[in-house]
C-alpha cells in the first residue's frame, strides 16, 4: 500500500515536469524578432540578458512622460506607422535630453525619424559587402569610423542584412567593398556603386540624441549568441548597459509580437484585471479542493 502511494507521488511529479516542458515549448513562437521566440529569429536571449532592475517595457506613450533624466529608449524593428501620440511621446522624451536608439532596416523607422525631426534616413535596399562574416554578402562587417567619441563602440561588428543610412554623424561604416544591392540579387551589378556606407549614426536633436542602427537583426538569437559575434554584444551593451533607465518600446515593435499560448500568457501577464480574475478562480478552486479533501 505504502509503495503504491510512493509510485503515485513519483508519477505525479514526473507528470508535472512533463507538463512544464510542454508549456515551455508551446509558449514560444516563430515570429520575427519576437521576445517570446526562442528560435533563431527571435530575440529571447537579448531580452533575458537585459537588466530587469532598470529596464522598463513601454506599452503606452504616457509611460515615457515620467522618464527620469539620462534615460535611453530602445525602439527595435518598428512594424507600423507611429501614431501622433507615440511621436509626441518620443519628441518629449528627446526634449528632456534623453537618447532614442532606433534599430531598423526595412520597417517604418523613417516615419519615426521624420516624426521626431531627425535628418537621418534609412536608405532602401540591402547593404551587401565582400567584407563579410559568413558566406553571404548580406552578412556585412562594419568598422568603427570615429575614435574617442562620446560613445564607445567596438572596432567592428557583423551585421545580418542591414540597410545603409544617410546623414547624421557616422559611428560605424561598412568597408569600401560594400554596395547597396538595389535589385536584391546578392550580386554586384553595373550601376551599383561600391563604397563605405554608414550603418550606425548619431544625431544631436536639441538636448536629446538620436542613434540609428540600420540592422535590428544583430539582436536575434542566431546572431546574438554566436561566439564570434562578441563585438555585436559589446555594441548592444554600449547602449543597453547605460547608467540611466532603459526603456524598451513595446507599442510599435516586432519584439512584442506573440502568438498562440505565448500571446495568451503575455496578455495575462500584462492585464491586471485578468490576473485578479484568475487569482480569484484559483483561490475558489483551491477552496473547493480543500473542502473535498476534508470530507
Amino acid at each position: 500500500m505504502r509503495r503504491i502511494r510512493r509510485v503515485f507521488w513519483i508519477a505525479g511529479v514526473v507528470l508535472l515536469a512533463a507538463a512544464f516542458v510542454l508549456l515551455l515549448h508551446l509558449s514560444t513562437n516563430n515570429m520575427e524578432f519576437s521576445r517570446y521566440n526562442t528560435g533563431w529569429n527571435g530575440t529571447s536571449t537579448f531580452f533575458s540578458d537585459l537588466d530587469r532592475h532598470k529596464t522598463i517595457d513601454v506599452y503606452e506613450p504616457g509611460k515615457l512622460a515620467t522618464s527620469p533624466a539620462n534615460s535611453t529608449l530602445l525602439l527595435i524593428a518598428p512594424k507600423r506607422d507611429p501614431t501622433a501620440q507615440e511621436l509626441a511621446a518620443y519628441t518629449a522624451f528627446l526634449d528632456k535630453g534623453n537618447t532614442l536608439f532606433l534599430a531598423d532596416d526595412f520597417g517604418t523607422g523613417n516615419k519615426i525619424l521624420t516624426g521626431v525631426d531627425s535628418r537621418v534616413t534609412i536608405l532602401p535596399g540591402s547593404l551587401s559587402s565582400l567584407d563579410r562574416r559568413y558566406a553571404d554578402p548580406y552578412s556585412v562587417v562594419a568598422y568603427r569610423s570615429i575614435e574617442n567619441g562620446s560613445i564607445t563602440v567596438p572596432a567592428s561588428v557583423a551585421l545580418n542584412r542591414p540597410a545603409a543610412l544617410d546623414r547624421g554623424t557616422p559611428l560605424m561604416m561598412s568597408s569600401v567593398m560594400s554596395w547597396i544591392d538595389a535589385n536584391g540579387n546578392r550580386r554586384l551589378n553595373r550601376g551599383e556603386e561600391m563604397g563605405t556606407f554608414p550603418v550606425l549614426v548619431s544625431e544631436q536633436r536639441g538636448r536629446g540624441r538620436v542613434i540609428v542602427l540600420s540592422d535590428p537583426s544583430i539582436l536575434i538569437n542566431s546572431m546574438y549568441t554566436q561566439d564570434e559575434n562578441a563585438d555585436d554584444r559589446s555594441l548592444i551593451r554600449a547602449f543597453t548597459g547605460v547608467n540611466g533607465t532603459l526603456y524598451v518600446d513595446q507599442m510599435n515593435s516586432r519584439t512584442a509580437d506573440a502568438a498562440g499560448l505565448s500571446e495568451i500568457l503575455h496578455v495575462i501577464r500584462t492585464t491586471i484585471i485578468i490576473e485578479i480574475i484568475l487569482l480569484c478562480l484559483l483561490m475558489l478552486a483551491l477552496a473547493w479542493a480543500w473542502k473535498k479533501m476534508m470530507i
Partner: protein, 607 residues
C-alpha cells in the same frame, strides 16, 4: 495488469520522454537546422550560414561576375571621395580576408589623377570654409554699421563701410576661383563615372552666399539730423513729476521757438516728438503760442533713470531724466482640464497694482517647452497649448524686461493628460477602483454562496441521517444546529437485531453493550457500539456519509477534537476484535476500557 505494474510502466515512459527532452530544455528547439532555415525577410540564420565554407574564390566570383564579364573596361564606381581612406579600407579588407588572394579590384585612375583630384577637393573645401568665414564677418560689420549710424559716429561708420567693401571685393574673386575648381573636379569625376551631385550642389550653395554678400539687404535708415546740437533751447521740455511708478501719468510740456534773424518767434502748429530712451512715444502739435503739452503713462521704462527729450524737424531739447520706482508684479494662472486631444487652456493675468497690458511673458511647460506670448489690453491672457499624454507642469513667467517692475511667476500647475483619448486620468482611476470592488464583491459573493450551499447540504444530510436513525423525528427543513446536536447522540437503530435487543430509553451505552454481549457475543456487540459512537463523532464533525467510511477512515477523519485520540484507540481495539481472529480476554478488556472512555468523552454519560 497489476496496478503497481501500470504505475511503473507509466513512470518509465515519462522518464524516457524527459531524458529525450533534456538536451532541449535550455533551448527548446525540436526542429532540425533545415527546418529552422526557412526564408526570413529581415535576416538569414547565422547557424546555417556558419556551416557553409566561406570566402573561397568560387564563392566570391559569382557575386562580382556581372562586372567581370563586362566586355568594356572594368570600372567599379567607388562611392568614396577620399582616396586615402579607400586605400586604407582596401588594405584592411585584404588583411581580414587572407584567402582572397585572387580578387583584384582595380581603380581605373592613375596616381597623378588621384592626387590632382585630392588636391582640388581639399582646395574646394578650404575655399568654402573661407567664404563662410567672410560671410560671418560681413554680418558683423553690417550690425556695427547700424550701431554707428544710430550714434551719428561718422568716422567709425566710414571705416566699417570701407572694410565691408574690401571683403566684398575679396569674395568676388573667391567666387570665380571656386567655380573653376569645382568645374575641374566635376569633369575629372565624371570621367571616372563618379557621382558629382554633391559638387554641383555645393556650387549652387556658394553662388547663393556670394549673391547675398554682393547684394546686401539695405537696412532702413532713420532720418537723423546730425547738424542739430542739443541744448540750444529752441525747444524746451519739462516733466511733471519727474519721478513715478508703473502706469503713473507724467506730463511732458514745453515751448518751441524759431530763430528768424535776431528775432525769436513762437512756432505754432509745429510737430514735436517725445523720445523716451531713444524711442519716440508720442507726437504733439504746438499751439498758437508755441506751447505743447502731453500726458503719457509710464509703461516701457527701465528701473531708475530714463533719458527723455523732445525734438522737432529742426530743433531738439536738452535731455531730461525721468526716474522710475519699481513695484512688485503678480502673475496668476489657471489651467483647464485637458481635452481629448491633450489641449489645455491656460488663462490668467499679470498685475502690478494695475493690469500690465501688452506685456511679453513666457508660458513654460515641463521646463523644456516655452511659448512667448503677450497679455491683452487688460493685462489678461488666454492661450491654448497641446500636451502629449502624461503628467506635465505648467508655469507662467513674467521677466519684466523693459518694465519698471519686479519679475514674477505663477504657481507651478500640474496637468495629467490621459493616454486614452476621452478618458480623464481621475476617471480611469475611479473605473479601476470600481472594477476592483466589483471583482472583490463577486468573489466574496461566490465564496459565501458556495459555503452556504455546502453547509445547507450537510444540514440536510444530517437531518436525513437522523431521520433514518430516529423514528418520528420532526421533518423540519430549517432545523438549527443547536437543536440538532442533542439528537445526534440518540442510539442508531440497527435493523439486523431484534426489537427486544434495541437500545431502550433507560439504557446507557455500557448497559446496552452488556446486554448485547450476552446475547450476540463480543464481535457483534462491539460493531453495534462502534456504530453508536461513530454516529456521534460524525454528527459532531459534520461528516457526510460516515456510514460509507471504514472504521480506520473515521479515525483518520477525526481531527481537532479532544476525544479524537481516545476515539482512535477505541477504533484500534475495535478492529482487533472484529478482524483480528480470536479475541483474548485482554483484547476485550482493552476494548471495554476504550469504549467507556470514548463514550464518556463523546457525551454518552449525559444520555
Amino acid at each position: 495488469m497489476k496496478r503497481k505494474t501500470r504505475y511503473a510502466v507509466l513512470v518509465i515512459l515519462i522518464v524516457v520522454i524527459i531524458i529525450a527532452l533534456a538536451p532541449f530544455i535550455v533551448k527548446p528547439l525540436l526542429y532540425t537546422l533545415d527546418k529552422e532555415s526557412f526564408p526570413a525577410r529581415f535576416h538569414n540564420n547565422a547557424d546555417a550560414l556558419r556551416q557553409q565554407y566561406q570566402n573561397s574564390t568560387s564563392d566570391i566570383s559569382p557575386q562580382v561576375q556581372d562586372v567581370i564579364d563586362f566586355s568594356g573596361p572594368v570600372s567599379l564606381n567607388i562611392r568614396i571621395h577620399n582616396a586615402k581612406q579607400a586605400r586604407i579600407e582596401m588594405e584592411r579588407f585584404a588583411k581580414s580576408q587572407g584567402s582572397l588572394k585572387n580578387l583584384v579590384v582595380k581603380l581605373d585612375m592613375s596616381e597623378s589623377e588621384i592626387r590632382e583630384l585630392e588636391q582640388d577637393t581639399a582646395l574646394q573645401r578650404e575655399m568654402l570654409d573661407s567664404l563662410l568665414n567672410t560671410s560671418a564677418s560681413l554680418d558683423m560689420l553690417q550690425s556695427l554699421e547700424v550701431q554707428y549710424r544710430e550714434q551719428n559716429n561718422e568716422d567709425m561708420l566710414t571705416t566699417v563701410r570701407l572694410q565691408g567693401e574690401e571683403l566684398r571685393k575679396k569674395v568676388k574673386g573667391m567666387g570665380g576661383q571656386y567655380r573653376n575648381i569645382t568645374e575641374r573636379v566635376v569633369d575629372n569625376s565624371k570621367k571616372f563615372g563618379l557621382n558629382t551631385t554633391k559638387n554641383e550642389e555645393s556650387q549652387k550653395y556658394v553662388d547663393e552666399i556670394i549673391k547675398e554678400i554682393e547684394n546686401p539687404i539695405e537696412t532702413p535708415e532713420t532720418a537723423v539730423d546730425i547738424t542739430l546740437t542739443p541744448g540750444e533751447d529752441r525747444t524746451s521740455l519739462f516733466l511733471r513729476p519727474d519721478t513715478g511708478r508703473y502706469r503713473d501719468i507724467i506730463e511732458y510740456q514745453g515751448i518751441s521757438l524759431t530763430l528768424q534773424g535776431n528775432t525769436t518767434l513762437r512756432s505754432d502748429g509745429k510737430p514735436i516728438t517725445i523720445y523716451f530712451n531713444e524711442i519716440p512715444v508720442s507726437t504733439v502739435i504746438t499751439d498758437t503760442y508755441g506751447y505743447y503739452n502731453v500726458r503719457i503713462p509710464i509703461e516701457h521704462a527701465a528701473i531708475g533713470a530714463n533719458n527723455v527729450y523732445a525734438r522737432s524737424q529742426t530743433t531738439r531739447s536738452i535731455n531730461r531724466t525721468l526716474t522710475t520706482i519699481p513695484v512688485n508684479s503678480t502673475t496668476s494662472m489657471s489651467v483647464t482640464k485637458p481635452y481629448q486631444n491633450g489641449t489645455v487652456i491656460c488663462s490668467g493675468s499679470i498685475m502690478a497694482n494695475v493690469p500690465v497690458k501688452d506685456a511679453s511673458f513666457q508660458l513654460a511647460w515641463d521646463e523644456t517647452n516655452v511659448l512667448v506670448t503677450k497679455t491683452d489690453s487688460s493685462g489678461k491672457f488666454k492661450r491654448t497649448i497641446q500636451l502629449p499624454p502624461g503628467r506635465h507642469t505648467i508655469i507662467a513667467k513674467f521677466t519684466a524686461d523693459g518694465y519698471p517692475l519686479y519679475p514674477s511667476e505663477s504657481n507651478l500647475l500640474t496637468v495629467d493628460v490621459s493616454v486614452i483619448p476621452g478618458v480623464d486620468m481621475d476617471y480611469r482611476f475611479i473605473a479601476l477602483v470600481l472594477t476592483g470592488i466589483v471583482l472583490l464583491a463577486l468573489f466574496i459573493g461566490v465564496t459565501v454562496w458556495y459555503i452556504r450551499r455546502i453547509t445547507r447540504r450537510r444540514k440536510t444530510h444530517i437531518t436525513d441521517l437522523l431521520r433514518s436513525i430516529i423514528p418520528g423525528m420532526r421533518k423540519d427543513k430549517n432545523l438549527p444546529a443547536s437543536e440538532l446536536d442533542p439528537d445526534l447522540f440518540e442510539p442508531v437503530v440497527d435493523e439486523q437485531i431484534p426489537d427486544d435487543s434495541q437500545k431502550s430509553g433507560d439504557d446507557t451505552l455500557i448497559s446496552w453493550y452488556t446486554r448485547l454481549l450476552k446475547k450476540y457475543g463480543l464481535s457483534e456487540a462491539s460493531r453495534i457500539v462502534y456504530q453508536q459512537i461513530a454516529s456521534r463523532v460524525a454528527g459532531d464533525l459534520r461528516i457526510r456519509r460516515h456510514q460509507s467510511l471504514t472504521a480506520r477512515e473515521m479515525a483518520r477523519t477525526c481531527k481537532g477534537k479532544p476525544y479524537c485520540g481516545t476515539f482512535a484507540r477505541f477504533i484500534t481495539a475495535y478492529e482487533r476484535i472484529r478482524y483480528g481472529g480470536l479475541s483474548s480476554v485482554k483484547d476485550q478488556s482493552v476494548f471495554e476500557t476504550a469504549m467507556e472512555i470514548t463514550d464518556e468523552q463523546t457525551g454518552g454519560e449525559k444520555n
